[in-house]
Symmetry: C2
Subunit: 693 residues, 2 copies
């Protein structure tokens, strides 16, 4: 069985995904829009989002251009040491990674800012049509992201036949994701916090009130943070998992003079996308059905289909069943971790209710109990990831030398296989969140708001699960990237005639040195992003105050008086871009410093420390944010005193703290880990050649 058939298979499935996305796109566009106000506001949001994305991409294009030049000069080895063609390939692969990621983000944003208005209108007809609009809008993003990533990886490998180029492509995707996620995260929370602070707290006007100058920025934020940012993040993870697996697979194939391992990676990845296509197309909801159930069911259906398809493929193509086992172990672990995260953020469970009750004693207790449960919540995920990698190892080690690490990388591929479905569910969230805002601003009435509220709440619940999933997947991926790093170092060491790496001994002080520094980076990174949000929100609050002071009749809601929405969008945009760069460069800078000080051993430790601490903080922050968000909603639903009570005020404080946790810092850590891992692999030759110790 030649590998060519799997290249063809991947390309066909990618194209299928694009065609399906186009059909969904058309379906969503065909949905009716009649309400003038909604169309008008929808236009504002769409333009605001486009403005941000264009501005961000312009800045990132300059950054990527500079990075591409540096890559051309230095990677994989300095251009003056010969083989210029390798460096050109790397630079092109890198640029391709950024472009693919940017395009997927752009497509997702474009559909999300159409689907939001359509879903708002559809809500007038009930849950079913509104849900389908939101879900299919999200699915466009899911299909576009996974289609691009599969196509990109396949194309790069086919064109270059060089796995280092694949890491370059992956690095392009990651570096874009790092900034897109951080920038979007800062934008969205700046707008959200400022709007709430002045609107709800100071003036006591409702959420999404059109008088609030920050209200459009807030809705734009949902799109740029949760849609574009999250899409870039999962694009990045998906590419990284495939790249890591392919780096290891090709190295193994070289030894066995075959192509079976690379074939398997491509085959399993393609089947993952195929399962997502089937899962999305089968998603249905009853007339008065439960949207949460509908979303979760599609996830389970996709998981089942994937397990069956890969099993059949394994039998048909005589793949090693042990590797299939590792892949499925990863997938199941992902699902279990999702369920465990759900426990800590579901308002039917103890943690959310406990925090709501504690809020009656004041905000300090909301924070303390929330933090306590969030700290606890990391345990099942950490154990899950630990066991997934251990099982993969034990299953695949007997196959032969090097297969244990390949098993782990395939376990990551398995966990990320259904990412098309995950993104669909995830992008559904901000679409219906926006729809809720639009329904409010379009005065569609209480009944419609009830529908959109229910859809929105389902989005939040599912988000907690998909976030846990995404973090776990990133965890396994970076373990695999560690394997890829060693593989790269050893290839380079062979060429240079120096000693290669067997592993990283914790007792080697260089490794330990790297580990301690690497572990601190996610904390510093989170800190910089959150302080960025804080500074940016202060700027925006000033602007909101200025508008309420200077625009006469705005506070009173006088007919025809409108706030200057674009000023707030402008502040959020420029602030986000200003704040995201230092955090990203800090993470990259420390990697290079540790690498050039301590060499590859220190980098091994650095990555391990970074992964472990990154996982802890990403899980802690995401779960804390979800827990506080849902505690607030639980109180608002009439528990522990309901809206306006002291418990509610305290719960709002918790939610405000949780917002940048779950939407800015937490999910950005994922990308930070991946970027750092990829840089390490790419610089492996330089670290081997030039390092102080």
């Amino acid at each position: 069985m030649s590998v060519t058939i799997f290249y063809i298979m991947s390309i066909i499935v990618s194209i299928l995904a694009f065609l399906f996305a186009a059909w969904l796109y058309g379906w969503v566009r065909k949905q009716p829009s009649t309400n003038k106000r909604i169309i008008e506001v929808g236009e504002l949001i769409r333009n605001g989002a486009a403005t941000f994305l264009n501005k961000e991409y312009r800045v990132l294009a300059r950054f990527a251009g500079a990075a591409a030049i540096l890559i051309f000069i230095f990677l994989p080895s300095p251009v003056w040491t010969g083989n210029i063609s390798k460096n050109i390939t790397m630079a092109i692969a890198y640029i391709a990674g950024t472009v693919f990621s940017a395009v997927a983000g752009k497509i997702g944003m474009s559909i999300a800012t159409i689907a939001n208005t359509k879903a708002a209108e559809a809500a007038m007809k009930g849950i079913k049509p509104s849900f389908m609009t939101g879900f299919r809008g999200g699915a466009v993003m899911g299909m576009a992201v996974v289609g691009s990533s599969l196509l990109g990886v396949t194309a790069i490998l086919l064109a270059t036949n060089n796995t280092t180029a694949l890491l370059g492509f992956s690095f392009g995707a990651s570096s874009l994701a790092l900034f897109a996620k951080a920038g979007g995260g800062i934008f969205t929370k700046t707008a959200d916090i400022s709007a709430d602070l002045v609107g709800k707290v100071e003036l006591g006007i409702p959420e999404d009130d059109p008088r609030n100058p920050a209200v459009i920025a807030d809705n734009v934020g949902d799109n740029v943070g949760d849609v574009a940012g999250m899409g870039a993040d999962l694009f990045d993870s998906h590419v990284a998992s495939m790249s890591a697996a392919l780096v290891i697979a090709v190295a193994l194939d070289r030894v066995s003079r075959g192509t079976v391992n690379a074939s398997m990676v491509l085959c399993y990845a393609a089947l993952g996308l195929l399962s997502s296509i089937i899962g999305v197309s089968m998603a249905r909801i009853g007339k008065n059905g439960d949207p949460t159930k509908a979303l979760n069911n599609s996830t389970y259906v996709t998981t089942g289909i994937y397990a069956v398809l890969t099993l059949l493929a394994t039998i048909a193509f005589k793949f090693e069943w042990r590797i299939w086992g590792a892949c499925i172990a990863g997938l199941l672990t992902g699902v279990i971790i999702g369920i465990a995260s759900d426990y800590f953020t579901n308002d039917l469970r103890k943690p959310v209710q406990y925090v709501a009750r504690a809020s009656k004693s004041g905000p300090a207790f909301t924070i303390l109990s929330g933090i306590s449960y969030a700290l606890l919540s990391v345990l099942p995920s950490m154990i899950g990831i630990a066991f997934a990698s251990l099982i993969a190892y034990k299953l695949c080690d007997p196959i032969g030398d090097g297969y244990a690490m390949f098993g782990i990388s395939m376990s990551a591929v398995g966990m990320l296989s259904i990412v098309g479905m995950v993104i669909s569910n995830d992008a559904y969230g901000p679409i219906v969140d926006n729809a809720r805002g639009l329904a409010e601003m379009g005065n569609l009435g209480e009944d419609v708001l009830k529908v959109t509220d229910e859809l929105d709440s389902a989005g939040n619940t599912v988000k907690a699960i998909t976030k846990g999933f995404a973090i776990a997947a990133a965890g396994l991926t970076v373990i695999a990237l560690l394997g890829a790093f060693i593989s790269e170092v050893n290839t380079a060491a062979l060429e240079l005639g120096v000693e290669g790496l067997k592993g990283f001994d914790i007792m080697n002080p260089l490794v330990f040195f790297g580990m301690l520094v690497g572990a601190a980076i996610p904390l510093v990174f989170s800190s910089m992003l959150m302080l960025g949000v804080d500074r940016n929100a202060q700027r925006m609050v000033q602007e909101i105050h200025r508008q309420f002071d200077e625009i006469t009749g705005l506070k009173e809601g006088k007919e025809g008086v409108k706030p200057e929405y674009d000023k707030c969008i402008e502040i959020a945009t420029s602030g986000a871009i200003k704040e995201l760069i230092p955090a990203g460069l800090m993470a990259i800078g420390f990697t290079l410093i540790v690498g050039f000080v301590g060499g590859v051993q220190a980098i091994g430790g650095f990555l391990a420390g970074n992964i472990v601490s990154g996982l802890l903080f990403a899980l802690f922050m995401s779960n804390a944010g979800g827990l506080w968000d849902n505690s607030k909603k639980y109180v608002e639903a009439g528990n522990e005193g309901g809206k306006g009570s002291d418990a509610h005020k305290a719960a709002v404080v918790g939610d405000t703290v949780g917002d940048p946790f779950k939407d800015t810092a937490g999910p950005s850590i994922n990308t930070q880990i991946t970027v750092v891992s990829l840089i390490s692999s790419l610089f492996s030759v330089l670290f081997l050649t030039f390092s102080i110790f």
Copy 2:
């Protein structure tokens, strides 16, 4: 030069420390007490503290007894496999460790609850006498703790000539510290939070108001948490650092058939205590001097004396200068880390002022900005520890095989050398804090309160520094314990005829498995302690409410009406004891599970993950707590609106969240790391023999 002389030297210095402590004790007792009210309240505090300690020790005695039996049966190897005398030695060493620790804690508590009343009275005469009383009271604790630990370690080694027994002694100290620190931490924060919540927030009565039923419990809490708990913690770290160094030194000496390395450890440790004795006896303050400066100066003086004394000893006894270098590198790093922690918690610096300003926007911003800075604050310490271990390694590696790890362990010994001084400064804090409360309850007037406030504030500032120091020292110690673990495993492996350990490769999935699980433990441990405080505080708030409801005239402060202070003490006591056991057992249980599942490789990873994540969270939590505490004080000093403003209310929320961070969870993590490291070493034979993978 025979090792005997250094045994004698250690014993002489220990005895000197006890004599000095006795003299200080006498001096403090001789200070005048005249105010009846202060004597009366002082009595209540003393009795409350004694009640708690006796009850806690009774429970811990049962626990220690059970542990000693298990140790006798299983350690170092199951008793039925022969050599019963080794097991008896282990059990006795373990019990000795618990007893020494308990006695040191008891002495410290006893003097602290005398010195508090004396310091309160002395405050009527001005800063100088009050400072000297507080400081010398603290110094009794410092001398008792370090004297016992040096004497204990020397005696055990002399009596058994067996370094594994030393680990047993250290484990005894650690297991007691784990519970004492956690129990004391829960007690103190239960009382503190409940007293504030009902007193300050609900009823608006001042801190330390004698009407508050929890006020005595609150003052007792300062003693049981900050004096007894902290003493046990640093006793444990000091013993562990010496034990780890001795385990490695004796192994090296065995190879070189000498005793120089063990001699050096004893000599340096004894000189550390000697330096502290000199430093304490030289501590002075001018008539209107600055107490913070006086405390810090004594630390710097001690540091200088130690460097000189060890240098002279190194020359005189012809010790290896490289190891001296490692030792001094550790010491200096400790000082630098202390200064760096100070930056994040000092109200003259940006972080505290920023958080105070952010508080004007509400409590959510107090929390967010505080957490952001606290996350950032871990970086200098992590880099400091990383460099200290790297420098020690680079310095000592050229001496010969195994000396790199010995250098790291000596770097920990160096960092902990001035621990006698550190404890003196640290125990000074709760004494003057208590004195402040007593001055308030004794109606000594505003002028005296101003004096005690100034002394108290110095205690808080110095505490931030000593805490950073203690955590860093624990960090280096546990790295050394990892070295001791390998040394133990290899000795056992040799006897069993199985393969020993070279190190722990991060790429070995068993190691990685252990690392992920180990990293989650400090979070779970913190979570359990904080939830324990929360539950316990709820019980206590109920009791306070009951008293205010049922005791007529209490709220109004009617003459002769007194609250039932002992009921609150009883609740804090029994609650603390109830809540501390599960957290401690959880940490121990996970170590055993990982060890018996994954064997010594998994344990290596487990320890590394535990150390890294433990350091991160201990630093994060301690610094966050200090930062919020001082932000509140900064606002109370009249900034950003001053007392009663919105900023003040928000800052109080921050302080309440920070309290269990800095006084319950943060510092307990230290001990958790050490306990887990020691258990691993002690169980090494069993993990080698029985493990699933």
